[in-house]
């Protein structure tokens, strides 16, 4: 598929915001572990900016953004429609959280609703891709698990960095605990990605020219796709990059999204200035996540490409 930056920014930014809100909810839902001041001045504003940024990015993907309201209509059948409802819901809950934290106490029901709504949004976002049964790279539960783990890992890392940057202390979770959990989450996401890439390499396409055209006989090949100057079909369903670019992006993903942040996290334990390591880790990981999402689209093979192999 052709990776589209609007969707790449949408999924990475809201994933990070969901991870941040989810992490804060885990730490806070029993007792007010994080100070309301920190929540109202840092955590909620950053989460809301990321969520709204993602929402704005998604509009650039539409041919008719002025009709975007219509996309909430088909929630009974369409995961995209469900995402369109779930995203504003998370934003609304974050705004309510901001209101409560300004008034010094955030009730337990809000943390629980935030956790549930973030989970629902992850499911909706991932299912948009996972439910397309003939894109075999996507049609697997690891699509959801990957969105969830990467969102959670990047959100928890952001929380860890912010806690250090603003010199906060959380009674139930000291700094080393936050960093080690962050390391573990990134490590899990890293292993999942390796597993997914390994699975993708071994995939046998279910469709081939024989099933796509039904032509009997051996050695079926296309001699003309019926057009010479390109069409929507030749533009939309392929990444238009060389194998070398793809291989390099794969290396960037491994380094930026996983390995370098893990090294920086390890170095930040016991360092004099952990906030520098942690902030650097957040920025580098976000670049890695954008590349990861780019490749997520690029490596999806659409069976319609069987019909568009040769110009003439």
């Amino acid at each position: 598929m052709r990776p589209q930056y609007s969707i790449i920014f949408l999924t990475t930014m809201i994933g990070m915001a969901q991870g941040l809100l989810f992490s804060v909810s885990i730490l806070n839902f029993r007792t007010d572990a994080i100070s309301p001041d920190f929540l109202s001045s840092v955590i909620f504003p950053i989460a809301i900016i990321l969520l709204i940024g993602g929402l704005v990015a998604s509009f650039f993907h539409l041919g008719h953004p002025e009709r975007a309201w219509r996309s909430a209509m088909m929630w009974r059948t369409s995961w995209l429609s469900r995402e369109v409802i779930a995203l504003p819901l998370v934003i609304l809950l974050a705004l309510i959280g901001l209101y409560f934290s300004l008034n010094d106490h955030t009730p337990q029901w809000l943390w629980i609703s935030l956790m549930i709504s973030c989970l629902i949004l992850w499911i909706c976002t991932a299912k948009i891709y996972q439910c397309i049964r003939f894109i075999q790279e996507w049609s697997h539960p690891t699509t959801l698990l990957n969105f969830f783990l990467l969102g959670l890992a990047s959100g928890w890392l952001l929380l860890t960095a912010l806690v250090n940057l603003f010199k906060q202390s959380i009674p139930s979770a000291n700094n080393t605990f936050l960093i080690i959990v962050s390391l573990l989450m990134t490590f899990c996401a890293f292993n999942l990605k390796l597993w997914i890439w390994n699975r993708n390499r071994g995939l046998k396409p279910k469709s081939n020219l024989a099933s796509a055209t039904g032509i009997k006989g051996q050695n079926i090949r296309q001699t003309s796709m019926g057009l010479m100057g390109g069409s929507f079909n030749t533009r939309e369903f392929f990444h238009h990059q060389t194998d070398r670019v793809i291989a390099n992006i794969r290396k960037i993903i491994l380094l930026c999204a996983y390995i370098v942040p893990m090294i920086l996290l390890a170095f930040s334990i016991g360092s004099v200035l952990p906030k520098i390591y942690l902030c650097l880790a957040v920025i580098i990981q976000f670049i890695g996540l954008i590349c990861e999402r780019w490749l997520f689209f690029a490596e999806a093979n659409h069976p319609q490409n069987l019909y568009y192999q040769r110009v003439s």
Binding site: G63, R67, R70, M74, F134, G217, G226, G229, F237, H302
Partner: protein
């Protein structure tokens, strides 16, 4: 199979000569209609590109000297279980209950392209200028038209085909020409592995079967 009507095309690969008359007549009819134009990009310069509902492709099969060139028209197959319809977030994509035609309401489409991702056949094309998803309508504005003579109430591609390679009819009615052609000449569906149950069928080349049978005899 449900008892409802399901209009469809049956394409005879034995006689298609790859002349593209169905492509041009489709474009001519559908770009002139009330539903809006099928726009062209760079029509008179390098890399011309545009929206078409129907394409004719060419394939080769076999090993010399027993090779075949097969011209293969491809348009929306109007699946009985269309994967493109439930994914549409606005309800712009729908399948008509009365005749099984899969249509796009251009006034509701937001141009998100998600339906085109959910079609394994590449039957949908986003119109670059109008920014809405377009696809074959089976000439829904022709086949029920009361201003056209009865004999012309067929899709434009069917009327244009010089070799009568395109048969139009109700594939749920066992008495229709389309159903009889499928029945008698072993009409098949594309990519059956995805269980979309395309309504359009293709009639296989009988020469290929003759070759295969001859091979077995050897």
């Amino acid at each position: 199979m449900s008892t409802n009507k399901q209009l469809a095309l049956v394409i005879d690969l034995n006689v298609c000569v790859g002349c593209h008359a169905c492509v041009t007549s489709c474009k001519e009819w559908n770009t002139s209609g009330s539903a809006g134009p099928l726009t062209d990009l760079n029509a008179y310069s390098a890399n011309p590109s545009g929206t078409f509902f129907n394409r004719v492709q060419t394939y080769e099969a076999g090993i010399f000297p027993n090779t075949q060139t097969v011209h293969f028209p491809k348009s929306c197959l109007h699946c009985e279980d269309p994967p493109c319809v439930p994914v549409c977030p606005t309800g712009a994509s729908y399948k008509r209950a009365e005749d099984g035609i899969v249509l796009v309401d251009y006034d509701k489409c937001i141009g998100c392209s998600y339906c085109s991702w959910a079609c394994p056949y590449g039957a949908r094309e986003l119109d670059e200028e109008r920014q809405v998803m377009t696809k074959c309508t089976l000439c829904v504005d022709r086949i029920y038209s009361e201003t056209l003579p009865e004999s012309e109430r067929k899709p434009a591609c069917v009327l244009a085909c010089p070799t009568s390679a395109r048969i139009f009819g109700d594939v749920h009615d066992p008495e229709s020409d389309a159903s009889m052609a499928i029945e008698e000449r072993r009409g098949y569906q594309l990519m059956p592995e995805w269980e979309t149950q395309p309504a359009n069928h293709y009639l296989p080349r009988s020469i290929m079967e003759t070759i295969e049978a001859a091979k077995k005899e050897l």
